[in-house]
């Protein structure tokens, strides 16, 4: 009887464990992981936008300036959130601290670049290159580490949420075997009809195991669904978004450097190729709801690279102003509107995939919700059955 109750408790405990891990995925680790990705994206976007604004110099439109400031504010706010919620996760805290320290240094460098540039001093361009180098070599790697740490936690929670409750199954099977053995022995010894109490207990046990299995399978399938159609495509999409920003930064910095180095032209070649691959991958993994947005983004990407090639040809021919207009200008043949449209399309796709993820993961969490109660009720029923069955036998001995 104690064993039956223990089985009920074990089942309930293991299932509760699973669904708390699933809950952790929904309410904690996935949002944190997405936050970390968003921190990375905001920083990369700030870097890109700072370079665009620098190239536009006195003609920098308010939206560009605003976007840069929003990026920094967004990153700072997300860092505060991450710091509050990552309590205990030591490594994540290190990266958050590092980012908190370096963000003001970076923005100081960008302002120094702008101030020098406004005075007509070439020192401004050197400062902006330096600022961007800080971003690329210090801040973004720290943000990447943070993102990796949060992703590792997300994957751990997924694994916990999908862990098979072996202990419950093993104990259940042992109990079942024990009950059958007792009943067989009773039957042989007494030649009586089946013991109703023990039979009921066996039924309750079987029902619990069945319920458990169905619940676990349903949860697994929903969680796998959230992973497949939410988390994994979302990560691919985030990667494509960040690659786009990196390529855009290289493109802008190549103009900021004004031919003093070929480093950024090489970077463009590398990052735009990576971006092309990341976009293709994101589309392949995308759930149907996000497919249209990603398709649109890919179209903008090819438009963007075409315009880049045209602007680059102008730059190589010595037409710097033409290259500038073709890269950050607001005209119809500029790369700027294509890039902005691409970024917006990807942002829309992220929204769709995030919603898909949440609904699937919530299903996964809730699928095992009834198992806990069922296990409790059935365990009590089973225990009562055992009590009754064995009580009968004991009474007969008196």
């Amino acid at each position: 009887m104690v064993l039956v109750l223990a089985f009920g408790a074990l089942t309930g405990w293991q299932v509760a464990d699973r669904s708390s891990a699933a809950d952790q995925v929904v309410t904690h680790s996935q949002p944190l992981s997405q936050n970390a990705t968003e921190i990375y994206r905001s920083l990369a976007d700030a870097d890109t936008t700072a370079a665009s604004g620098f190239l536009l110099a006195g003609g920098e439109p308010r939206e560009v300036r605003q976007r840069y400031q929003d990026d920094l504010a967004n990153a700072a706010q997300l860092l505060t959130q991450a710091a509050a919620q990552s309590a205990g996760a030591g490594r994540a805290q290190t990266w958050i601290d590092q980012l908190n320290q370096q963000l003001p240094v970076y923005s100081g460098l960008v302002e120094t670049a702008r101030t020098n540039d406004r005075q007509g001093l070439p020192l401004g361009a050197a400062y902006l290159s330096y600022a961007s180098n800080q971003m690329q070599s210090q801040l973004l790697p720290a943000a990447q580490h943070l993102s990796d740490a949060e992703l590792a936690r997300l994957n751990q929670d997924y694994a916990d949420a999908q862990a098979t409750p072996w202990a419950a199954y093993v104990l259940g099977a042992l109990l079942l075997a024990g009950l059958l053995w007792v009943q067989v022995r009773l039957f042989r010894r007494t030649n009586r009809v089946l013991n109703l109490g023990l039979l009921g207990a066996t039924g309750a046990l079987l029902a619990t195991l069945l319920w458990l299995t169905v619940g676990v399978l349903a949860a697994d399938s929903a969680l796998s669904d959230s992973l497949e159609h939410g988390s994994t495509p979302l990560q691919a999409l985030n990667l494509a978004r960040v690659d786009s920003l990196q390529a855009r930064t290289a493109e802008n910095l190549n103009l900021v450097a004004r031919g003093s180095t070929t480093q950024y032209a090489d970077q463009w070649t590398k990052t735009s190729a990576a971006d092309s691959g990341a976009l293709a991958n994101a589309q392949q993994l995308a759930p149907s709801g996000a497919a249209a947005d990603i398709k649109a983004a890919r179209d903008q990407f090819s438009l963007w690279t075409q315009r880049h090639t045209a602007a680059d040809a102008k730059n190589n021919a010595g037409d710097y102003q033409g290259a500038l207009d073709g890269t950050v200008g607001s005209g119809a043949d500029s790369a700027q509107p294509a890039f902005l449209a691409l970024d917006q399309d990807l942002a829309n796709a992220v929204k769709v995939e995030q919603a898909d993820f949440l609904s699937a993961a919530k299903n996964g969490r809730d699928a095992t919700g009834t198992v806990v109660y069922a296990a409790a009720v059935l365990a009590l029923l089973g225990a009562a059955g055992v009590l009754r069955g064995i009580g009968r036998r004991l009474a007969e001995f008196r």
Partner: protein, 313 residues
């Protein structure tokens, strides 16, 4: 000047330092003996017969293959800098590339094509100047490029259009009084593939560490951020840096002799001769002086005149 550089402790202000070197060198170069002494002192490692300041005799003929090709194309392709204040830099307000080097390019275009604006400016990184000439990306390079015997193996140069020398840029707060004093025990910044880098390789002058960056201006950024203590560079560039930051100064006297020339392909002797003619007219016709007064005089002080042309026999 070359003899006194070790012993003389000259405390120099920004302007005085800038003034001293080019003018003293330009002055001494007017005598044949002075020129030989200066050249001999600079080119310690190269073949003793090489005089980097000597170039082909001038010619105003436009019929050579390289000059004809430029005329046929209709524009000159010039490799320049966009980040070198008052030498070759892009004014963010006007979008135009301007400076002392750029004026020379315009003079060449005026002479060959009859229009100073028929130029395509290509931005060439310091480290790729020779490559750009060798693979024909540009016709000429006018980019504060020092004529050295090593470089003469790869490219041809015009006559000298400016005399510069290596000096040190340091924060005024360092109170340095000589190049050696400013370098010893310090972290020093130089730009990649520059004469300054070679110079420190030959004679490290007790520096603690050397930071190599892509461009001279990156040195000023690092110096402002306190990552390096001093920058070793041509005084012409050093003055451009001091002009962008009133808290640093240029310390001399210069430890080298850096004659600047227009670089061209070794396979285009007709272009070299044509450019030498342009420079001769530029010196004599007041163009050089006007450009100097416009771009450099505010930082270097007034000049006695351009360095004289020195031709091969």
């Amino acid at each position: 000047m070359t003899g006194g550089r070790m012993t003389r402790r000259v405390r120099t202000s920004l302007v005085a330092a800038a003034l001293l070197a080019p003018l003293a060198l330009a002055g001494s170069a007017s005598g044949v003996a002075g020129r030989a002494a200066v050249a001999g002192a600079t080119v310690k490692t190269a073949a003793p017969t090489c005089d980097p300041t000597k170039s082909l005799p001038p010619s105003s003929s436009d019929s050579g293959p390289a000059v004809s090709a430029i005329k046929k194309r209709g524009y000159l392709i010039a490799g320049v800098d966009q980040n070198n204040y008052h030498w070759g830099f892009r004014d963010p307000a006007s979008g135009q590339v301007e400076g002392f080097d750029i004026d020379i390019v315009h003079a060449i275009a005026q002479a060959i094509l009859g229009d100073p604006s028929k130029v395509v400016f290509k931005m060439v990184p310091t480290a790729q100047r020779i490559e750009a000439i060798k693979n024909g990306q540009v016709d000429v390079i006018a980019r504060t490029m020092t004529i050295t015997c090593d470089r003469l193996n790869d490219v041809a140069f015009s006559t000298v259009y400016f005399q510069a020398g290596q000096q040190v840029v340091v924060p005024k707060a360092a109170h340095a009084t000589s190049v050696d004093g400013a370098l010893k025990g310090k972290t020093v910044c130089v730009s990649q593939a520059s004469t300054a880098q070679d110079q420190l390789k030959q004679d490290p002058r007790g520096v603690k560490a050397i930071t190599v960056v892509g461009n001279d201006l990156d040195c000023l950024v690092r110096m402002q951020l306190g990552q390096v203590d001093a920058t070793l560079t041509d005084n012409a560039i050093a003055v451009g840096q001091a002009a962008q930051d009133p808290t640093v100064q240029v310390v001399g006297p210069s430890i080298t002799d850096e004659p600047y020339g227009v670089a061209m392909s070794r396979t285009a002797p007709d272009l070299v001769a044509r450019v030498n003619q342009v420079l001769a007219d530029y010196r004599g016709g007041g163009g050089w002086m006007a450009s100097y007064d416009k771009w450099l005089a505010p930082y270097l002080g007034s000049s006695d005149g351009p360095p004289p042309a020195n031709y091969l026999p």
